[in-house]
């Protein structure tokens, strides 16, 4: 899976820690998702989408 998390975060001037706090996950989780090492579960993907007020497919895409 590819994702635009890093770009979306940078657009808002949020650090990984800022995003982690908003999502109520660890900074390691944000880093792992951003670098493509970990694909989030559907519930977490929905939380990310809700936070950025975007549809999931605008953030995540298949390889």
């Amino acid at each position: 899976m590819n994702n635009r998390l890093k770009v979306l975060r940078a657009e808002r001037n949020w650090s990984q820690a800022d995003l982690a706090e908003r999502l109520e996950v660890s900074r390691q989780s944000v880093n792992a998702i951003e670098t493509g090492k970990y694909d989030p579960s559907l519930p977490l993907a929905f939380r990310i989408a809700a936070l950025f007020e975007l549809p999931i497919e605008a953030i995540f895409s298949a390889d």
Partner: protein, 134 residues
């Protein structure tokens, strides 16, 4: 490294159980060394050091249940799989070597020690592949 609330609770439980284990083991060794126990009491004293170790297994299970961060949970589960694979592989290999008389007998609690060593290997793998010690 910042610990999640579940990690902090787990750390506290493991430290507490480790201290209880050390106390029970020292006590049991002393009692047996001085022939202070016999009969059913000897059975109870002999099994006591195992209980906090079993408690640590339960604490790890509790941590897996309580950890709300799915990525950290995945890392921990992967660690436990490394622990299980490592300890069971060595125990199986050693068992066959022992049954064919190639090696001496080893107490089965060593499987637990190997499992904890396997957790360490899993943590190292997490560090190398994910860049995270968690």
């Amino acid at each position: 490294m910042i610990c999640s609330p579940a990690q902090k609770r787990y750390n506290k439980r493991v430290i507490g159980l480790s201290l209880i284990y050390a106390g029970l083991l020292i006590g049991a060794v002393w009692l047996f060394k001085h022939h202070a126990v016999s009969g059913p009491l000897a059975w109870i004293v002999a099994i006591l050091p195992a209980l906090p170790i079993i408690g640590i297994f339960a604490a790890i299970g509790g941590y897996i249940v309580e950890e709300s961060d799915e990525y950290l949970r995945m890392l921990l589960i992967r660690q436990t799989l490394y622990g299980s694979g490592f300890s069971l592989s060595i125990a199986t290999g050693w068992g066959f070597l022992e049954s064919f008389g190639m090696v001496h007998h080893v107490e089965t609690y060593w499987v637990s020690i190997l499992w904890f060593a396997g957790l360490g290997i899993g943590q190292l793998v997490n560090r190398i592949t994910e860049g995270s010690w968690s």
